[in-house]
């Protein structure tokens, strides 16, 4: 008897939650249409993804092919420029536009996999810390607070210098150093949810720990975490370019925005376009992700909506 009531209570509750979720998604869609800046952010971001995926179709040139006879050509609209190289060529005669298009691949790869690692590790640690409490919590949060209190840039630069230049190293560095923020937010949400009625009743009807964690708690983490994901991804793209700028990211032959900035810097005063355009690409992507993130926060977090008005 109790068993039946219990499970039906759970079903209604899950139903409630699902209804809530669809409603939230619909609401988010409506907000996206109304809040034009979110829509613009989404379109801008999709254009970067498009560029990364279809790079060879978009541009006829090879990003690595050097052509010293056409080196240091200014952008098309400047004197001496030519429409065959819209954004000009760099010091080795490589097409700047082509390299920017191909550079988006490095940035998006680092951003995507870096965030993927950071989110998964952070979520697991946060779930353990928040749900178990006690010693595990103290240990994990001690580690998390340690990472958060370190000077981020100094640590990242140091580790990158020790490990050497490779795409995998960069992804691992960002993935591990960035897990702290996800662990902290997950833990906070778990602590809050653990006291809520729907978790208490799930416990009272005898749901096991893993069922509670993965069926009830994890889906509710999506909202708070997805906003952080966009902001952290844009931060990683930024830091990757920064490492590249210092010569600590992917190998110098790989076309990446940071590497382009690093080589363009030497020619800044005479051939400024070599450094200006890759920087604009970083700004464009960062703007896209921030507009998107701002909108997601407003759409998914009812609290900030109230404050914002």
């Amino acid at each position: 008897m109790t068993q039946t009531t219990g499970s039906s209570a759970v079903t209604t509750m899950e139903l409630d939650r699902d209804v809530g979720f669809t409603r939230r998604v619909n609401h988010a869609g409506r907000l996206l249409w109304r809040d034009k800046s979110g829509l613009i952010g989404l379109i801008m971001f999709l254009s970067v993804v498009f560029a990364a995926v279809f790079a060879p179709v978009i541009t006829p040139y090879d990003p690595l092919k050097q052509n010293l006879r056409e080196a240091k050509m200014p952008p098309a609209w400047r004197e001496g420029g030519d429409w065959s190289h819209i954004l000009g060529t760099d010091n080795l005669g490589r097409d700047v536009y082509t390299r920017i298009i191909y550079g988006s691949r490095v940035s998006l790869t680092v951003g995507f996999f870096g965030v993927l690692i950071a989110t998964s590790l952070g979520m697991i640690l946060g779930l353990i810390a928040g749900y178990n409490g006690g010693k595990a919590d103290a240990l994990i949060m001690g580690f998390v607070n340690l990472i958060l209190s370190l000077p981020y840039l100094v640590v990242v630069v140091t580790v990158a210098a020790i490990l050497g230049r490779s795409l995998l190293n960069v992804i691992l560095i960002f993935g591990v150093t960035d897990l702290a923020i996800f662990a902290r937010i997950t833990r906070g949400e778990v602590l809050r949810m653990r006291e809520s009625d729907f978790i208490k009743s799930a416990v009272s009807v005898g749901s096991g720990t893993s069922r509670i964690l993965f069926r009830h708690i994890t889906p509710n983490l999506v909202g708070p975490l997805v906003t952080i994901v966009t902001f952290e991804m844009s931060a990683m793209i930024f830091y990757e370019a920064g490492l590249g700028f210092l010569g600590l990211s992917v190998p110098p032959t790989v076309p990446s925005w940071g590497n382009m900035l690093a080589s363009g810097r030497q020619y800044l005063t005479i051939y400024p376009w070599i450094a200006i355009f890759p920087g604009l690409a970083i700004v464009y992507t960062g703007l896209a992700m921030n507009l998107l993130g701002d909108w997601l926060r407003d759409a998914l977090d009812p609290r900030s909506r109230r404050v914002k008005k």
Binding site: G142, S149, A161, A241, V283
Partner: protein, 316 residues
């Protein structure tokens, strides 16, 4: 309050210990520190000599004890390249970094806080739009790229500011004041902090606006000016203290790009040089030193926060 302070100090000491352990392990786990510290084409005998000299053949725990007890009394080891104590090199470069961070923080506060206040007090106004743009700019423009653009516009084209280097103006007896050489690097470095301050000020003003005591102040017939400056700004300033603390730590440790671009003779530049020279003893020392500085600043900010807001009770 005293208990809060006490536990906060203990926590900071634990963090310091954690930093030492982490930096120590980082240098050990990522390979042989001796081979990191000598040039790439050193012979095995040379590497072995360095190992012996640095005591790398001792048990790990002994090595850590030597490293940690040295760091506590300010001995961060020797720079391999300069053959000088790392701490001396760091202290020599510290004033330039502190100058840059301070001017940067000052500029971002002067722009960020009033703009956030105006935006928060008039949601939907032109100030609000400006604040939103400023916040976005701060978050999306990479400071190293902005630095290049500033040099291009203000140094190369307009010739208002020097392209690189640091000049100071000595008034007397060793007291030096910053000159205009600090302006461009400070703007490039501070733009992120400015954006953060605009955002935080704006949102805390919006929150405070709806508090009961503001309604009371309004119904008493206080002028807007007095409400905003006397009530709202004072209350919004409290959370800003800890944000400013965090940002100062960020500015102190985050200037590596800016210092490299402007050849600013500070800690960030020293770190970039040390990495370029593969002088990992110095890299390790800088990492430990800046971590200590950041942890100390955060502690001070938290203490200031607790002192400034009597409403907050810190128990247990």
């Amino acid at each position: 309050m005293q208990r809060y302070l006490f536990s906060r100090v203990i926590q900071s000491i634990l963090l310091l210990f954690g930093v030492l352990l982490l930096v120590f392990l980082m240098m050990r786990l990522t390979g042989d520190p001796a081979s990191l510290m000598v040039s790439r084409n050193a012979s095995p005998e040379q590497i072995e000599a360095v190992r012996e000299e640095m005591g790398l053949n001792d048990p790990l725990i002994v090595q850590f004890w030597r490293f940690a007890s040295g760091a506590v009394v300010g001995d961060f080891g020797m720079s391999i390249r300069h053959r000088e104590p790392a701490l001396d090199l760091i202290l020599e470069r510290l004033p330039a970094t502190v100058e840059l961070a301070t001017v940067s923080l000052f500029l971002s506060m002067v722009v960020g806080i009033p703009l956030g206040l105006l935006a928060g007090s008039r949601p939907g106004s032109i100030w609000d739009a400006l604040a939103r743009i400023a916040g976005l700019i701060g978050q999306t423009i990479p400071n190293f790229w902005l630095a290049l653009i500033l040099i291009l516009v203000f140094s190369v084209q307009l010739r208002i500011f020097p392209t690189f280097g640091r000049e100071t103006w000595e008034i007397c007896c060793g007291v030096e004041l910053p000159t205009k050489s600090v302006i461009l690097p400070a703007i490039a470095l501070g733009v992120f902090t400015m954006g953060q301050l605009v955002r935080f000020t704006r949102s805390s003003v919006l929150e405070i606006r709806n508090e009961d005591y503001i309604r009371t102040a309004r119904s008493k017939g206080l002028s807007d000016r007095r409400i905003y400056l006397g009530h709202i700004l004072r209350n919004a300033a409290i959370p800003l203290i800890s944000i400013i603390g965090v940002q100062f730590g960020y500015l102190l440790s985050g200037s590596i790009y800016i210092e490299t671009i402007f050849s600013w003779p500070g800690l960030g530049n020293l770190l970039a040089e040390a990495i370029g020279n593969r002088d990992f003893a110095l890299v390790q020392a800088i990492a430990v030193f800046t971590s200590l500085a950041v942890i100390t600043i955060n502690l001070l900010a938290d203490v200031a926060y607790a002192v400034a807001d009597p409403r907050i009770k810190y128990g247990g």
